[in-house]
Amino acid sequence: MSNNQPQAAATSAEVQPDWLAAYRKMVTIRLFEDRVNDLYQRKVMPGLAHLSSGEEAVAVGVCSVLGDQDYITSTHRGHGHCLAKGAAPDRMFAELLGKAAGYCGGKGGSMHIADQERGNLGANAIVGGALGIATGAGLSIKQRGSDQVAVSFIGDGALGQGVLYEVMNMASLWKLPVIYVCENNLYGEYTAGSETVAGSPLDRAGAFGIPATEVDGQDIRAVHAASQQSVERARSGAGPSFLLCSTYRYFGHHVGDVDRGYYRSREEEMFWRTERDPIKLAATWLVADGAADQGLLDQIEQDVGRELDQAVEFAVAAAYPELDQVGTDVFGD
């Protein structure tokens, strides 16, 4: 188990997570993404990246009930999942800059970070592309008789991919310990989900015999509670579940998507940022519950910011891979 997890092992439903650690993790994701955006704008980062700012509570809430031994699969918008599962920011930044010290030696980049030691089977640049992988990990768990679980993070856009229904069917038939976590941020690229999703996503999962729950993805407590239930169900051998988490991405589809008025309004963006921000919401009840005061929260933000600046420095200074690396790792050893 990793110390980076808000809760080391979710063996008992009674254990309350370390909410301050969870808060810190959300802040880490937020400030991490700010730095990615900055690296892009300063043309230090090659290519593009899809920021998860605004969606922190889903990643952290779900991973708060997972241990290092549990698997996740992630998406093109995967930095949050990766951090929530316990990855180190310095090696992540290094990967984003294509450096040898990155998690994949610079070969994967933002859309393919994997962190095998913490069960992150990888971000994926194919929408829905990791659904088979996560479900297959579930099958592997069941065959091995272990009590791990596999979580597949997907966007609402992946509701369009037929493979989702294929693997949900098999996960349900074979009672695999898989949790499908759909981050419904209302858009797939530049098109609203209302134009691309007929019927009801919850009913879709239900029609395959999979319990499906709508979750307020901006409330880490709600995400935590729903994930807890799903994980217990999975570990008990009862099978898969589906969580539809409503959330919002603050930035554009990717860092270059700046003029986005044609598909969503400033007002809508402002509403989510001001009224539905997962970090602000958490801060409010942490303070109200007496778990923290504003000073402590500010301190966390400062500490995290400093750590991340160091991580960026590390990555910027890090070496590129040796050129002969282009030809290695093509085939398994």
Partner: protein, 333 residues
């Protein structure tokens, strides 16, 4: 080229493709466009900007992220009186639609004994070095070139792109149209007014007597650049662009090699089992008795395209690497 005019305008490849589609949509009400983010967004590469404003959402359809589904629908619409232009955002996603493309679109006409036709155009992209990593950088035209019943176009200039796209849309066979992402902003002269370029006619982009460079898509630009370098050294390259791999204009290719006695094939697909193998095999066989040296092939390295810029840049043929190959071939190194 039919009905070409002497007058030209400077257009980017993206503009030329948009013009071709718009003209065909004006000309034939059966033509329509479907794909992800093709309407208001005009695709992520903005190739289709403005079409929805002119033709409306009834003829420019934003789809869910359901490549197999909407490609199959393109086949069915084509079989029943429409001329769909289906947009597969990245060529890498062809993996999702090969059943629809190879088992349905390609075979319907033949299997029905010529009764049913599939006048379908599939636009997609190819090309690396955009720091987009392994799942967004492939050039998979070899897959479709191998399947009888499909035509395959790979334009290298704005002029060719426009003329070939118009022919593709009018063609009564399914045509897969590959656009190199790195070429979208490249400018070139495009005839004013109506013209088409037939599928199956190679074009000699530069005359030369010492060696034939058979180059496809963006590799034509690499070949022209290399030819420039080599001309300074007294090696005159002929640059031949097949423009379509199916139908293949074997005669133009072979005639050129018979004249020059030397050939290098340059294609951005992976080198092994790629389009370059066919082109090399054709000229090696049909110009055998004229060849002074083995036919050389340059292609992408046989590795998944790495993210790290220092590695990615090693994977794709360049003017420098091509010039070196040519010098070797001509005994000038």
């Amino acid at each position: 080229m039919t009905e070409a005019t002497a007058e030209t305008q400077e257009l980017t490849m993206a503009q030329a493709i948009r013009e071709a589609i718009a003209e065909e949509m004006r000309r034939d009400p059966a033509v329509f466009v479907m794909g992800e983010d093709v309407a208001e967004a005009g695709t992520p590469f903005k190739v289709l900007s403005g079409l929805v404003e002119e033709f409306g959402v009834g003829r420019v359809l934003d789809t869910p992220i359901s490549e197999p589904g909407f490609t199959g629908m393109g086949v069915g619409a084509a079989m029943t009186g429409r001329r769909p232009v289906v947009d597969i955002m990245f060529g890498d996603f062809l993996g999702l639609v090969m059943d629809q493309v190879a088992n349905q679109a390609a075979k319907v006409h033949y299997m029905s004994g010529g009764k049913l036709s599939v006048p379908l155009t599939i636009r997609t992209t190819m090309g690396a070095t955009r720091r987009s990593a392994a799942q967004h950088s492939q050039s998979l035209h070899a897959w479709v070139s191998h399947i009888p019943g499909l035509k395959v176009a790979l334009p290298s200039t704005p002029c060719d792109a426009k003329g070939l796209m118009k022919s593709a849309i009018r063609d009564n066979s399914p045509v897969v149209f590959f656009e190199d992402k790195m070429n979208y902003q490249q400018r070139g002269p495009v005839p004013v007014g109506e013209y088409t370029i037939p599928l199956g006619a190679a074009d000699i982009k530069r005359k030369g007597r010492d060696v034939t460079l058979i180059a496809t898509s963006s590799m034509v630009l690499v070949a022209l650049e290399a030819a420039e370098l080599l001309a300074a050294e007294g090696i005159e390259c002929e640059v031949v662009d097949p423009r379509t791999t199916v139908p293949l204009d074997r005669k133009t290719l072979v005639d050129s090699v018979r004249r020059t006695s030397r050939a290098v094939v340059i294609d951005e697909g992976h080198r092994s089992y790629g389009v370059g193998a066919e082109l090399a095999a054709v000229v090696a066989e049909e110009a055998f008795y004229f060849l002074d040296a083995p036919v050389r092939r340059l292609g992408a390295l046989d590795v998944p395209i790495p993210f790290s810029p220092v590695l990615e840049d090693l994977t794709v043929p360049t003017a420098t690497s091509l010039a070196k190959t040519v010098r070797d071939l001509c005994g000038r190194s």
